[in-house]
């Protein structure tokens, strides 16, 4: 049975502080991953350039240094992103339990209030803009 939008809005509003916190953490998490991607790419470019110059020792040293550092940075930030996904799943599960509906039915309502979920897919399953506007009125 599809979830009642009004009930969904109320339930989401009740955990809005939690969602906002998660949203902000997700923004920071994404920015961390982007930074790590940039650092690892730069390090790989340096390896590429060192090999082209036949500076093999330098390339091997880069493997110990910046490549490893970039890799570890990326894995840590991805780990953070993973735990954010888990936190979001817990919020959605709680809402689904309260609303007696499926996880998939309530997840779009949580996504709609999260700025870190933008840009959304071209065909959103619900009217995200309308949902936000209604939430403001409430």
């Amino acid at each position: 049975m599809p979830v009642d939008p009004k009930a969904a809005a109320d339930a989401v509003a009740a955990v809005m502080a939690e969602i906002d916190e998660l949203d902000q953490d997700a923004m920071h998490g994404c920015s961390g991953v982007s930074q790590a991607l940039g650092e690892l790419s730069k390090a790989l470019e340096h390896v590429d350039n060192s090999l082209a110059e036949r500076l093999f020792q330098q390339a091997a040293d880069l493997g110990y240094g910046s490549v490893s550092a970039g890799f570890i940075f990326l894995q840590r930030t991805l780990g953070e992103l993973n735990s954010l996904e888990t936190r979001k799943a817990v919020i959605v599960q709680e809402l689904a339990r309260k609303l007696h509906c499926a996880y998939e039915d309530v997840a779009p309502y949580v996504d709609a209030v999260m700025q870190s979920m933008l840009p959304r897919p071209a065909q959103a399953p619900i009217d995200a803009v309308g949902f936000r506007a209604n939430r403001k009125k409430d």
């Binding site: 902000q24 997700a26 923004m27 920071h28 998490g29 994404c30 920015s31 991953v33 982007s34 991607l37 940039g38 690892l40 790419s41 730069k42 790989l44 470019e45 390896v47 590429d48 350039n49 090999l51 082209a52 110059e53 036949r54 093999f56 020792q57 390339a59 091997a60 493997g63 490549v67 490893s68 890799f71 990326l74 894995q75 991805l78 780990g79 992103l81 993973n82 954010l84 996904e85 700025q115 870190s116 979920m117 933008l118 840009p119 959304r120 897919p121 403001k136």
Partner: protein, 154 residues
């Protein structure tokens, strides 16, 4: 150092030098492959971030990026040991010819195709490299001012 004696001594270890050269070329090709594997995974990961598919991004980091990184580290280790093999060959020649390694090294390098510099494009596909420059390395607008603008709407 007598050039004729030097070339005789080098000719005597020519097989070893050729083996080393072939192994180095194979190793370089392996490094090329793993650098490409990682950079491609990084671009895919960035695309997942764009789509906000965090779980897929995380899975990619645990899969392809890790295997590429391990392959790269192993191959860089092999490259270091190939460097040691070259040092041993040069040291042996130095002992035989009673000269400095600096005098022998250019003569050995002249026989190694793997010692000739090559353009970096050999190691990274130009189209892919441009994509990485555009997607990952290009400066992005700072996240926080944008975040502040978005959040004032609420």
């Amino acid at each position: 150092m007598d050039p004729s004696t030097a070339s005789d001594a080098i000719a005597a270890v020519r097989d070893q030098i050729d083996d080393l050269d072939e192994d180095t070329m194979n190793c370089l090709s392996g490094i090329h492959g793993s650098v490409r594997q990682i950079t491609k995974a990084l671009v895919d990961l960035d695309l997942h971030l764009d789509e906000r598919q965090f779980q897929q991004a995380s899975d990619l980091g645990a899969g392809v990026v890790v295997s590429g990184f391990i392959a790269l580290q192993r191959l860089l280790g092999e490259l270091t040991s190939l460097g040691c093999r070259k040092t041993l060959i040069v040291e042996d020649l130095t002992k035989k010819l009673m000269c400095n390694p600096e005098e022998i090294l250019p003569l050995v390098d002249a026989l190694l195709a793997s010692a000739e510099p090559s353009p970096p494009a050999m190691y990274m596909d130009p189209g892919e490299h441009a994509l990485i420059q555009q997607r990952i390395l290009a400066p992005k607008p700072p996240a926080l001012p944008w975040l502040a603008l978005v959040r004032t709407e609420d």
